[in-house]
């Protein structure tokens, strides 16, 4: 091999050099190789140690092959959003002026094959995903190379479908890289195994939106085809030579420790082996059925200490108000909070004071968590699973084992979506599989059963909010104060490691370690959009997870981000209170919102959903509202939200039967303005899905618990929406190229339904429902009252 270096050139903050690459044996598959002494001093260097790919090299992100095909890599793993397989391909194709089809391979998630880490969230929300910037750098480098190759100034080159033209000459991307090692170094920052991972830095020029031809089209998701045809390898399908199946025997309560392990009848289960580490008990066997049955037998004979340290869900909000410590954690204020709100309240002609309650909910993946782990005798650990943040998981497993991340590789496969549960690194089974594999000396597959997935996983945090709204004589809001209260909402400690007594990160506390987001602080996460309100106070109060400090296992009710985390808990009380304030003002709920908003995009989504829902402008409640009788009464409500650069508004039309308390959502309209719509069909499907999940959460979902643990255990005790309960759904996508950025679209739709349905219930009955879920028994009691 011989190399011939040329003078390095600066490309918008990146460094490009060119080396002639001579090797016998024909064309090489070459990306962009190594260079750049200056990047060795970059802060990212330390953070990336142990990653086989160097994120400062574009070849880690994008490979252009001599046959003109392109490969992209992203640390994000797909959770059903399709973004890595559709939008990311479109974005890269667009920035490179290549065709969508030219991107033939997407490598995502695997820690040894992807450069940047971070979670399966916020794919687009910051407008410029890593992969877009990486592509923009590569494009500039390719132009630079083409300019030299063709002897034509860069400014006179044009590119279409990966073919560069200028001065009457042409060269393809494939020809430019053929037989060469092309070197470009790009700036990155951040920490690989943190929740946000690495970020590509700098400001390479981006393609003007007006020239887009790939973005905006409804390309299909290639993974859908393989899943539907039964050709996909799911995490559940991974089988390794010598692999044992495992079932866990989890403690009796969220605070129980192990007294003694039950026996296993060797005559009945000759191949089963019980593994104990601290209070963690698992049973492994060569066949799954033997593991299941032997684990049941072991469980029936295992003795645990008892523990009763939880308030029980009937006393949840009383406990949170009266017993929880809200004083130790600093009170957060929103950016838009103003100074003086009391004088304005004093002048109010009318005042609304209300409190809203939001229960614990479950991520409730349709398949319980599972993982395969293979701990080699030399200490190398391989994990095969479905996970939203594989690099963070890698860090947690290394921490648990007292090793470095170089010794841990996480391989990512498709699985059941779990909506945020593993965005900080673990979903439940991964660490347990590692512990059992290490003890058994074999690869081990841990599969949680359905009740375990409800009872040993994290939950979406419960919350309550107190709201005061002052109206002037004209029915305008002159003062608004909201105080949000929520226990720590993100606990990323692997549960098996806690039970086993192995090292984990700290539980959420007042003062998190540097760089950690794991704390009791309750930040303001629902951006205020009613800029016409002059006097505003938004405060967030945080506390410890319920039972965690008292539990001898240090577990208690562990919380974790779930789809639209924290913001759902804050937007629900805000939007419901705004609807109540509109009613108090005698105003139409949509017009009232428009009258208090200033931003075009807020007003735009409200007007769009008003039209889509054929909304009749009038105050609530409806003139036919009734809270009695066995005839359904109808009503409608609205909600609006800004999240991750996307504006949302939704209208729900419901029918409620007062005598039974049963609510049917009949029509659901939602308007979405993400700025640039990258893939209309995929976005529509994501929004429809979020809409259905949101209706499910509003009407049905509450994780119940007693003094010892979670009592939700299956789909009967934690029901979710069924097909015959869905409304007619209308999705309006507002494409706004002038915004110039991509807002997040796969997440937030679930938060819109709850405040809109509760407002619709008021419209139909004249009664204010201020807690979730809106189950028949609660609604019936409310309407009787």
């Amino acid at each position: 091999m011989a190399t011939l270096s040329e003078r390095p050139a600066k490309v918008f903050g990146a460094t490009l050099t060119r080396r002639q690459f001579v090797k016998a044996g024909g064309a090489l598959v070459v990306g962009f190789g190594l260079v750049g002494a200056d990047v060795w001093n970059h802060p990212a260097r330390a953070a990336v140690s142990g990653n086989s790919l160097d994120p400062t090299l574009p070849g880690s992100w994008i490979e252009i092959h001599p046959d003109n095909t392109i490969l992209i890599r992203t640390g994000k793993s797909d959770f059903g959003q399709s973004t890595t397989f559709t939008a990311y391909r479109q974005i890269v194709a667009e920035e490179l002026s290549a065709s969508f089809e030219a991107i033939t391979t997407v490598v995502s998630g695997d820690t040894d094959r992807t450069p940047d880490g971070s979670g399966a969230f916020d794919f687009l929300g910051r407008g410029t995903p890593n992969i877009r910037k990486a592509a923009a750098y590569v494009y500039q480098a390719l132009l630079d190379l083409a300019s030299r190759r063709l002897g034509v100034p860069k400014s006179e080159l044009s590119v279409k479908d990966g073919l560069i033209s200028g001065g009457g000459k042409k060269v393809s991307y494939g020809d430019l890289v053929k037989g060469q090692q092309l070197s470009l170094t790009i700036p990155v920052k951040g920490s690989l195994t943190s929740i946000m991972g690495l970020t590509v830095d700098g400001n390479p020029p981006m393609k003007p939106v007006s020239q887009y031809s790939v973005i905006g089209k409804s390309f299909r998701n290639s993974v859908t085809t393989s899943k539907v045809s039964a050709r996909e390898t799911w995490a559940t399908d991974v089988r390794l030579p010598g692999m044992l199946h495992a079932r866990m025997v989890h403690p009796k309560t969220l605070g129980s420790t192990l007294i003694s392990v039950g026996p296993v009848d060797k005559a009945q289960f000759p191949n089963a082996q019980v593994i104990v580490k601290g209070s963690l008990v698992g049973v492994v066997a060569p066949t799954e059925w033997e593991a299941i049955r032997a684990a049941e037998q072991v469980a029936s004979g295992t003795k645990w200490t008892d523990w009763k340290g939880l308030p029980g869900n009937a006393n949840l909000f009383q406990h949170l108000r009266a017993d929880a410590d809200w004083k130790s954690t600093p009170v957060m204020k929103s950016d838009k909070t103003t100074d003086e709100v009391e004088p304005a309240f004093a002048k109010a002609a009318k005042k609304l004071s209300a409190s809203y309650e939001f229960p614990f909910m479950k991520h409730a993946p349709i398949g319980p968590t599972m993982a395969v782990a293979d701990v080699h005798p030399d200490g190398m650990v391989h994990i095969y699973t479905h996970n939203q943040n594989p690099q963070a998981l890698r860090g947690e497993i290394a921490h648990m084992l007292g090793t470095t991340i170089d010794n841990v590789v996480v391989h990512i496969y498709p699985g059941a979506g779990h909506y945020g549960r593993s965005n900080g690194g673990n979903a439940g089974a991964e660490d347990e599989a590692v512990i059992l594999s290490q003890a058994a000396g074999h690869p081990v597959r841990v599969q949680w059963m359905r009740p375990e997935d409800f009872q040993w996983s994290t939950q979406s945090a419960a919350a309550f909010s107190d709201v005061e709204i002052g109206l002037d004589a004209n029915g305008r809001i002159i003062a608004y104060q909201i105080d949000h209260y929520m226990p720590a909402m993100q606990d990323d400690r692997p549960v098996g490691a806690i039970i086993a007594g192995l090292p984990t990160m700290a539980a959420p506390d007042v003062n998190p370690p540097p760089g950690s987001i794991i704390s009791t602080v309750n930040g303001l996460s629902d951006p205020w959009i009613y800029d016409g309100v002059a006097n505003l106070v938004e405060q967030g109060h945080g506390t410890f997870q319920i039972g965690q400090k008292a539990s001898p296992l240090a577990i208690g009710i562990r919380d974790h981000s779930m789809r639209t985390p924290g913001q759902f808990q804050q937007n629900y009380p805000r939007e419901l209170a705004i609807s109540e304030a509109a009613a108090l003002a005698g105003a139409d709920a949509i017009q009232f919102r428009i009258d208090h908003a200033k931003e075009d995009r807020v007003i735009g989504v409200l007007k769009a959903v008003r039209e889509a829902s054929a909304w009749d402008t009038r105050p609530s409640p409806h003139s036919n509202a009734s809270s009695t009788g066995s005839t359904p009464v109808r009503g409608r409500g609205v909600s609006v939200m800004l999240r991750s650069g996307t504006y949302w508004a939704c209208v729900c039309q419901i029918a409620v039967t007062p005598s039974t308390g049963v609510i049917a959502v009949e029509k659901y309209a939602i308007a979405v303005d993400p700025g640039i719509v990258i893939n209309p069909m995929q976005l529509k499907r994501q929004v429809e899905g979020g809409a259905v999940m949101g209706i499910s959460q509003a009407l049905l979902e509450e994780a119940t618990f007693d003094e010892s643990g979670i009592t939700s255990r299956d789909w009967l005790t934690y029901p979710i929406l069924k097909m015959n309960q869905i409304p007619e759904i209308k999705v309006v996508l507002l494409h706004r190229p002038e915004v110039g950025a991509y807002g997040g679209g796969s997440e937030a739709a679930n938060a819109l339904a709850a405040p809109a349905i509760a407002a619709a219930l008021f419209d139909a009955t004249g009664k204010n429902a201020r807690r979730l879920p809106l189950k028949p028994a609660y609604v019936q009691e409310l309407l009787r009252g």
């Binding site: 259905v692 789909w715 097909m723």
Partner: protein, 174 residues
Amino acid sequence: MISIIVNGSRREIQAPEDTPLLYVLRNDLHLTGPQFGCGMMQCGACSVLLEGKEIRSCLTPVSAAANKEVTTLEGLPGRWAKQQGLSTADAAKTLHPVQQAWIAEQTPLCGFCQNGMMIKATELLERVEKPTIAQIKDAFTTSGPSAHLCRCGSYTAIIEAVQHAATLMAKGGK
């Protein structure tokens, strides 16, 4: 030893008779279309066709399938090919219209439940040529041991895909 006919082939099963069919299909026969969702017949992720009727393989012992015909997601193309009398060559490159429609409508989100959804759709469309939306909702909600559950909320897309598949089937899959 139990013998079952899976996707047109007779298979001898070594597993104990009380083993749920799901584990036999996934672990012994490497047919991984059906998924473990709840193990309680409450969700439908594990569905297969037994003699053309949708059942939950997670709690059905393999002995209940002895000498009967089981169709999994992997077997849907062959089932369709046989019904249409397609040649082996044509059958090899054909997907069942239900699968074609699921792709055309981009129905799955995470996709974990969709095995059961496509099995249920196949059962329905073999019985009712052109189901109404109400019939589709009924089939997926009340006709089996439990409703077929989708946590990602793809129900609208499923309804559209069933209607699409009905159209394809009426045209012989073209």
